[in-house]
Symmetry: D2
Subunit: 437 residues, 4 copies
Amino acid sequence: MSVEQKLCFDIEQLGQARFSNPMSSAKFVDDDERVLYFSDPKVVKAALDQGQEPLAFELAGPRKKIYFNPKTVRCGIVTCGGLCPGLNDVVRAIVLSLTQHYGVQSIYGFRYGYEGLNGEFGHQPVTLNTEVVNNIEKLGGTILGSSRGPQPVEEMVKTLDAYGIDILFAIGGDGTQKGAGAIYEECCRQGREISVIGIPKTIDNDISYIQQSFGFETAVTQARNSIVAAYNESVSTRNSVSLVRLMGRDSGFIAAYAALADSHVNYCLVPEVPFTLEGLFQSLEERLSRGQHAVIAVAEGAGQDITPPSTETDASGNIKYSDIGTFLRDQIKQHFKPKRLKFNLRYIDPSYTIRSGPANAYDSAFCLLLGHNAVHAGMSGRTNMVVGNWSNDFTHVPIVLATSKRKRIDPDGWLWDNVLAATGQPRDLGSASSYVP
Amino acid sequence: MSVEQKLCFDIEQLGQARFSNPMSSAKFVDDDERVLYFSDPKVVKAALDQGQEPLAFELAGPRKKIYFNPKTVRCGIVTCGGLCPGLNDVVRAIVLSLTQHYGVQSIYGFRYGYEGLNGEFGHQPVTLNTEVVNNIEKLGGTILGSSRGPQPVEEMVKTLDAYGIDILFAIGGDGTQKGAGAIYEECCRQGREISVIGIPKTIDNDISYIQQSFGFETAVTQARNSIVAAYNESVSTRNSVSLVRLMGRDSGFIAAYAALADSHVNYCLVPEVPFTLEGLFQSLEERLSRGQHAVIAVAEGAGQDITPPSTETDASGNIKYSDIGTFLRDQIKQHFKPKRLKFNLRYIDPSYTIRSGPANAYDSAFCLLLGHNAVHAGMSGRTNMVVGNWSNDFTHVPIVLATSKRKRIDPDGWLWDNVLAATGQPRDLGSASSYVP
Amino acid sequence: MSVEQKLCFDIEQLGQARFSNPMSSAKFVDDDERVLYFSDPKVVKAALDQGQEPLAFELAGPRKKIYFNPKTVRCGIVTCGGLCPGLNDVVRAIVLSLTQHYGVQSIYGFRYGYEGLNGEFGHQPVTLNTEVVNNIEKLGGTILGSSRGPQPVEEMVKTLDAYGIDILFAIGGDGTQKGAGAIYEECCRQGREISVIGIPKTIDNDISYIQQSFGFETAVTQARNSIVAAYNESVSTRNSVSLVRLMGRDSGFIAAYAALADSHVNYCLVPEVPFTLEGLFQSLEERLSRGQHAVIAVAEGAGQDITPPSTETDASGNIKYSDIGTFLRDQIKQHFKPKRLKFNLRYIDPSYTIRSGPANAYDSAFCLLLGHNAVHAGMSGRTNMVVGNWSNDFTHVPIVLATSKRKRIDPDGWLWDNVLAATGQPRDLGSASSYVP
Amino acid sequence: MSVEQKLCFDIEQLGQARFSNPMSSAKFVDDDERVLYFSDPKVVKAALDQGQEPLAFELAGPRKKIYFNPKTVRCGIVTCGGLCPGLNDVVRAIVLSLTQHYGVQSIYGFRYGYEGLNGEFGHQPVTLNTEVVNNIEKLGGTILGSSRGPQPVEEMVKTLDAYGIDILFAIGGDGTQKGAGAIYEECCRQGREISVIGIPKTIDNDISYIQQSFGFETAVTQARNSIVAAYNESVSTRNSVSLVRLMGRDSGFIAAYAALADSHVNYCLVPEVPFTLEGLFQSLEERLSRGQHAVIAVAEGAGQDITPPSTETDASGNIKYSDIGTFLRDQIKQHFKPKRLKFNLRYIDPSYTIRSGPANAYDSAFCLLLGHNAVHAGMSGRTNMVVGNWSNDFTHVPIVLATSKRKRIDPDGWLWDNVLAATGQPRDLGSASSYVP
């Protein structure tokens, strides 16, 4: 798939309809500015040698000519899925940029995620302006509310029609962005022009072609607090294991960085690297026998091949992951309690506390830049894209590309290598599972 | 029971053995200084009218004459039971005061609680001095380690003998102080002089005759973080209930103050005030029907009459409390899931994170004062007592008095009244339990 | 002066006008409940022996009968003077208690302190209700704004008349409470009934007859951060002195508790204890000569006898204190720079950061209780009083008593003794000043 | 200058001396792996079209063959210059990697910066091992101590000889790295092989060819706290200006990101963008006349053309920058005090508090990775280089390149554009200075 997928409405029409950007800027971005995806010169050279353009993203930023008339354009914002630090910062940045940079006057905040775009729920949107969003960055959660799962695309487009929305900012994860793509497709089908701009929200940092997602660093910061607690607990009594369950359904970045941030983690278990209970128990046994404690950080999606399969489904109808956290907790207890005097297993699950708080300073600044760039993209007529960042630049990434696959830890790459180096855990904690509960 | 129980060795003997306090102090405390227990003038007057001394504690602080020779006295410190913010501060304060104020040279830190006093475990004590304790206040947990449960008193006295301990500082809760009392009794029986000074450690703030215990304010601070998270979660989606389980086995002070500190708590459930599932469900149902969320803070020891009885026993052989947290979580889910679309129950249990971190500034200052006063008490030949605080003064409280009953929230008092006023919860959430699971 | 000064309107009239308290409470307080001021049994006994009532405060809390009709009463709130953590908590608590406990419907927030009560400034008051005050406790500062200095009392009463204010809640320090007293007097003179309830605000914790004031603990917490920084700086280079200027115009409680909270402070300088530059320099010289660093915490009002007299006046026309912080900084530099290679003096003044942030959990809970009790006092017809706390109870203290003198550190008391013990500084750093700049 | 400067000892000799890397790694880096400097495909293509290699850095990471024998190699670590969050993390990471990954047994920590390498000062180095560095990441500052300014290179080499140092890790800024380069040159001159590996420390984030330096994000986080305080102060009283002085001698990145992180900053003044007092005063006057407050964040090196020239010199003999912070404070007061009733100027200088604390979680993880990669570089025989990061990879950058120029904000680039957009300040605050004090 090419990154160079069309991100705008018909470019000819765009040419005719252009307004002057009312914003003062020293750095209007030209439409042909790009950011290389690969930083390895050999890869870039190879592409060029074969006469191909090396993979690259459109550079984000304000354009000299914009597509929508700031005086009449009507914008909508929606926040979907689980909470993530920085949601209010992004909402605030979009509202401030629309009003203060472009003079936009009509901004609707749809309530409770995509439910707010389905008229059947009867949620009325709120009017957003600078006064409403002042200081909301100090609050966690989202002032718009959220919900999980999809809504019928026709219903959603009907609501957007009812409010005359020209630009929709959809802040949410993988599923949300797919929904945003579907809204775009449906509008195209109906011959309705709409700029759909996604701001990717994934506390797991697992969106491809995007270096880092907002809220991730805040999450690592909070995760470290739990790991410090786990360490303090486990060194304070003998025969102690502390187990911290962190977020990370398909990608273990939070657990990995938390292990790097506090190298008192002894085992980091992530979805990308299989392990067996036998392998883990044997290694734990060795530590305990040396009179040592153990701190384990486990990503929620780790070890799905060793847990009893889940039967619950989520709002979108997918099979829910089994809970490796409580499973490990129970198995470790069951295995070690009979063997070791006063064996202690402390289990810490900080998930809600991690995701529901306000963003740290870095993430707040990052959210502001995402919001600014989302507005620039929307006002310039981009659509069907998300705002990304790569190599210290902000980029436009087609929704289909961003949702094509998940970003995951490479078990053979430098990140995992450093996690192993930091924890000192064996590279192989049992590759094939033979556990029978 | 009289507070005026003897806190010292034989006073005549003490008189003969007195050394001059090497400490520079403007405020040497006289042995007859007291702090009134009751602040209601009617109560005090009534006692005096009947010719009785009103209940009062001995005032803590440095004495002009001390009992032990600083050059030769040998001291021990032990930390017992669950972690509590400030343990290292107290250890540090005792070491700094012994060395810098009195010039004491022999201080042993016994490892892993009372296990460290039982030779069978083979734990060697560590030597404590100013260098070892520098900066330990920045770490959570206890550098000495801890353990739960009692050890045979003869074994413990044997170890104290082996190291020639004259003063034992026992930092721990109810059980620890009873153990300290037993050590004192056994030493008396053997005709061995030992100063046993307790520093009461109870994150639940449930020790009687003591206004506040160290770590409690830090715990409330941490608890608020979880409540903010619970609130952010529950207002961000519809039909949401957030449940925060806080510490508080017999006394709900942490939950109560956390509810006051963040008046976004809608229900505060404590051990002192019974409730029924029906009562709670009915009130919850009303809130949800009005489109409102709910935040519940529940102390771990609440509702013991409505949970299935526990069969687990702890290290001391007592029946463990049932887990009201997970019980409530499951019951609420089971009750509301079928009734309400996308009903959400978020469960947060921050216990380990709360108790294992370092103390906040107030608690650090408080721990320093406790440590100083413990040393003054020990050096002056007090024994069989704990250091307390009352009415802005530090006091000496006999161990038997401090461990005679727990301090609990008065359901008819001003604290609970203000909690009800802050949460808006009904005073009666079902007084008699009729729940059949 | 007797504490038993009349706190209410004419009691007979009060008797006739009483409404039933609409609040549900298990603990309506009787009008004769008192809290003893002295906790020393000898003092109390001596008073009784002489046939006197021992000094005691009226107990705060809800009364069964209230004076004002909740349906028609009109209330005003004003915040005055410098910022203090918890101002918004108190405003919020008063609004929540008036509306949710009593059903009061008219609450005005006067803007910018007493300026808002002087019509000449043209500040319009804001209407306060539960929605406006939701979440304001997360913000520092005061949503009402503030100003320093008095306004003409007739003008203020005129404004209160214009808005028909029956109860005025005045949150502020010494000067503010004196102003509140003046408003009460002027209303009496005019035969106008008004309940004037003060909530004492002093980050310095220097109001007499009140155990602790809101914001103080938060201030100590923040102050510790600066002291940790000062310590880290001074141990990282040789020949280093770090100087932290803390708040404390007349009373050094913040500096004293900060020194206890982080016993890395080597010198604590407070207004209550004189010192000379010679004395300080000599002691510093000894530390530096031993290869040691030094951390100094100085209260802003310390050493006023050794600084060049200030000529600036403040908003109230009083001579401003000289700035001991920058004076000491310059004198120390001047003295030691020529003598010591690469001598470093780091100066840290965290005042604005300390006072402008939100309250910590303890202070938030405390502010809620103050606000509740202020509302109970006002609704029950108390006037000319402030809400205090003493011995773990909340109290009513006449304004004249609370403003009669400042609470200060007793240089011969246990607090200063422990500060000296913690810092290790000499008790005497030069008692008579002979410094000639 | 070419990035491809030789980073190792003579490669032939290196070839012969190679040992096997004892570390388990899935990702040994080949010596020809590179990271592109430019991410603009047009720039890369242009270079290739001209037959040039595009600018690229050597990729960092463990090598299969290493130069030094882990059993005998002797390593030294030194920390220089002003404090920066993360110094202890880097020290710790180097020690842990040397001991745990390579089994190195001799590690010396030289005290007080380059002073510790000059025998005349008599500072003895400390032995570093895993026990010593455990938990030091929780402390701010540097456990090794630091100093500013250079020392004679011959003296330093003599000390390195005396301790038989094979690898020197120099953690410090621009001047430190130049000193490290000089040590390398002198060793070359003497025919002595030494691996000199720099870890660039600049809280200002102003080292070229390096995406971000450790401590920078922590600094932004702390800076935001001061800005929140400044905002709270200035909105709480009328006619208020708050001025926050932040670090940034030549580059205003901290001020810029702090302005993005909390978009309550109204003016961000940085060294890269000139302004005049007249321009600033005029804009301030307009805000105040509209009844608005103002928050100003000024980098310490801003406005050097409008301040009276400094005459002080620093430890290295350079002219010190004038203090724009206190200058602006005084000028603003002087200008506005006479004009505006109760005009308030609050001045906040959080510098020491910002730089002396521990690193946040992101910076801790980053420091760990820097430390690991520094050790890999040193063990593999690299020298005369610093460890950098670029495009999500870690790199080797020649010292001469890293110290060739400073990284600065581009006044015409996207960062400054977004700062202007966030603050709303005029792009031109007076371009030519005409101020006469």
